[in-house]
């Protein structure tokens, strides 16, 4: 079996070049690949496009906002390009207002479905979400079953940085509770999938085949989060 285990986060992201698209999952601070993002921040790749639910938060945690603040991102594709509350000014907010970073705003369900669409080899899909709003302007409209829809396209990515609860040497992944969120979709939609794991990576065969959330064929690299890594 091909060895998928990398010793350090830095090793696992070492070859990520400038200019690629990075998936960064997580929701409400849970399931964020903070160790891999910290490593990518150290590694210094730039001109990156990021796909994430938001463009970083106001807290001190490492997230995609850390790379935004460091000037590594040229564009963010996410469901929040402004905070719902004006008090939450992030590094992204300032840079976006100053024209230093580009952004594409996508409804969260459409974002999830576009990721799945890319992973599923589907050319595009029609959703009722955003019809009648500013975001639907310029999009192709079409009625199905008496209801208007807009056409949405797949959102593929080059590198998926993933946070999982358990993994085995075959790359099979298990998530815990709401840690799952965007993680399985981004693991499946990325060309290269790199996973930080919260538990020891077990031998293939030790995970129940019915319990696996992402099949190992989607996973290229696994790193166990070290004791002194970022946990929360």
């Amino acid at each position: 079996m091909k060895n998928k285990i990398y010793k350090t986060m830095d090793d696992a992201v070492a070859d990520i070049p400038d200019g690629v698209t990075i998936f960064s999952p997580g929701f409400g601070g849970v399931g964020v690949p903070r160790n891999l993002l910290a490593a990518l921040n150290r590694q210094g790749a730039k001109d990156l496009t990021g796909v994430s639910n938001n463009a970083g938060t106001v807290d001190e945690h490492v997230d995609i906002g850390t790379l935004v603040e460091a000037g590594q991102m040229k564009k963010m594709i996410c469901a929040f390009t402004a905070a719902t509350h004006p008090s939450q000014v992030t590094p992204f907010t300032k840079m976006y207002n100053d024209g230093e970073i580009d952004a594409e705003l996508v409804p969260q369900g459409t974002l999830a479905e576009r990721l799945r669409c890319a992973a599923a080899g589907i050319g595009g899909f029609y959703t009722p979400t955003s019809v009648g709003t500013e975001l639907a302007e310029g999009k192709e409209h079409r009625e199905f079953n008496g209801r208007m829809h807009v056409l949405e396209l797949p959102l593929p990515g080059d590198y998926g940085l993933i946070r999982a609860w358990k993994a085995d040497t075959a790359g099979n992944l298990v998530f815990r509770l709401t840690q799952r969120n965007f993680n399985p979709l981004m693991a499946m939609a990325a060309t290269v999938t790199i996973v930080e794991v919260e538990n020891d990576i077990v031998e293939a065969g030790e995970l129940d085949p019915d319990l696996i959330h992402v099949a190992g064929i989607y996973v290229d690299r696994l790193v166990r989060i070290p004791e002194d890594g970022i946990w929360v």
Binding site: G29, Q108, E134, W165, T178
Partner: protein
């Protein structure tokens, strides 16, 4: 005439939560709408859904009892209830667009008499915060809005037509503000209940849209 009282946010959300029916699957938006979960009625069971794929979760976790892997749509630590299940984000929005959510409660900047509402973008600021709002507005069986009746500057948010970019057209079924409970009918806003001490005329004064005042207008009920 009794003393004029504007409703507290908890009271507003209690009133909306009273409308939830036994067995309903409910998605509560971040902010004020989450207060709906504080209203309890042992005669009915509500199933909470959040965008991040948790269905059947329970109350906020007490300090010291948080599970770092279990949060609601606002990122708050919540507790599991028996029967809770977790799915990934695309499966979670399958539930939303697929029509499994009986009601979603959201906050808003504006609501108009045709059922439009706006809650994601202020043109004076760049960008917007949609999250799952557009999917929920398009997919849930019912959209309820909870918001203050006026801005801090006193401008009404209950309009003939939204001035801000809308989140979805024609979907709002019910609105609660600190002044009243409104049903959105094909004819426009119908005032169902008023805040204590407020006459229909006084509420109309705070409202751009023309209100329908039914004969059986009631004062706010706080318990079903």
């Amino acid at each position: 005439m009794a003393e004029k009282v504007k409703l507290e946010r908890q009271a507003m959300c209690d009133r909306l939560a009273m409308e939830f029916q036994d067995g309903w699957i409910v998605n509560l938006g971040v902010g004020m709408p989450t207060l709906c979960s504080n209203y309890s009625d042992s005669s009915r069971e509500i199933i909470n859904h959040a965008e991040n794929g948790v269905i059947g979760y329970g109350p906020l976790a007490k300090e010291g009892e948080e599970d770092r892997h279990l949060v609601n749509a606002g990122g708050q630590k919540v507790t599991p209830l028996p029967g809770m299940a977790c799915v990934h984000h695309a499966d979670s929005f399958m539930m939303i667009r697929g029509g499994m959510i009986d009601v979603t409660v959201m906050g808003a900047y504006e609501v108009s008499e045709n059922g439009d509402f706006a809650n994601w973008r202020i043109p004076s600021r760049k960008g917007g915060g949609i999250g799952g709002a557009m999917d929920l507005a398009a997919g849930a069986k019912r959209v309820f809005i909870a918001m203050e009746h006026t801005t801090r500057d006193g401008a009404t948010k209950v309009l003939k037509k939204c001035t801000l970019p809308i989140t979805a057209p024609g979907v709002v079924k019910m609105l609660v503000t600190d002044l009243g409970l409104f049903e959105i009918t094909p004819q426009g806003f119908k005032l169902l209940e008023h805040a204590p001490g407020w006459s229909p005329e006084e509420i109309q004064e705070q409202t751009e849209a023309k209100l329908i005042i039914p004969d059986d207008l009631k004062e706010f009920r706080f318990r079903s």
